[in-house]
Symmetry: C2
Subunit: 193 residues, 2 copies
């Protein structure tokens, strides 16, 4: 696998914005069962090794996981404040669950769990998200095992199909659209911002 | 009209993050003609007077305007980095165009145009967004009239129906869901984050 051509401006943006912890936060849009859009902040957890797939995590009990089960397509919008760049990346979403033992991604799910902070792992032991607020005590559970993921922990992958890259600092602004040709090779064209 | 109950935490977040210009940037998700989600950064332009409607602007030539024409529903995700708060606001989208002379919002469209910076107004005189990049000279047009909006300029309003407010700093995090009862009055309930 070769790195997609958009990986290089994205790596540069990540590097130049590295002083801002929230530069790894981005917004993931999906479609609800009702056909309406949903949108929430997620944290970028790096690329899956030897692929162009972006890694995120989620809880199987979340609405997001339900939506992705029904319609596994998403578009992320990633704005980098320091360099004033925006990446819109659309593609297929792949949810890797506890029961996906035969999935080629199952080992990656465990590795991502092991790389999380203890605080991040603990959130998966909290009461079910979106339900009436539980007593404070319900959030005080012991730390989950650091090696084996809790059953509700999911790895979420985004396999990009198109990338829309906008540099607000240009004069005029620069905008590039990336896509794939019939052979799966990435191409790019410059368009008006 | 009374201010919706979620206006108060949102006003507080805006105030506490006011040192960051990009705290007024947020991500708007819509649904494409294909049924797939779309997501992009937009700039919050304040509330329409005496309403709970959020104001944005867009170009009638943009994909966003096409999508909203087909399916006028959106969800914004607004993350405030300094206070670590997230507002997800879903609701109806209202596009106010040049030819909407009978719309109750037509005057607001002109007012928003007049409040824009000259640089922001000039972008509406640029070549059509998304088309093959035009020569640099095509972006050097004279400044548009500061009083009367260009025909392709649209006011975009979001009429909120639900608000999902998450405070990441809580112990545990606090999450509140706002909705409206049968009489249109806003209510709130606390849920697990």
């Amino acid at each position: 696998m070769s790195l997609a051509v958009w990986r290089s401006p994205l790596a540069r943006a990540l590097h130049r914005n590295r002083s801002l912890a929230f530069a790894r936060y981005l917004q993931l849009a999906t479609v609800r069962a009702t056909g309406r859009p949903a949108n929430r902040t997620v944290v970028f957890r790096g690329f899956l090794e030897n692929t162009n797939q972006l890694k995120f995590i989620t809880d199987i009990r979340s609405q997001k996981a339900e939506e992705i089960d029904l319609y596994p397509w998403g578009e992320i919008c990633w704005y980098f404040p320091k360099t004033r760049e925006q990446f819109r990346i659309a593609g297929q979403l792949i949810l890797v669950r506890q029961d996906d033992r035969d999935s080629e991604f199952f080992t990656a799910r465990r590795t991502v769990w092991q790389e999380l902070s203890e605080a991040a792992r603990s959130q998966f032991a909290w009461p079910a998200p979106g339900e009436d607020k539980a007593d404070a005590g319900a959030f005080d559970s012991a730390s989950p095992d650091a090696h084996e993921p809790l059953p509700n922990f999911c790895l979420l992958l985004l396999e990009p199909e198109t990338v829309d890259f906008l540099e607000l600092r240009g004069e005029p602004q620069n905008r590039s659209l990336y896509g794939r040709d019939g052979d799966g090779n990435w191409f790019v064209r410059s368009v008006n911002p």
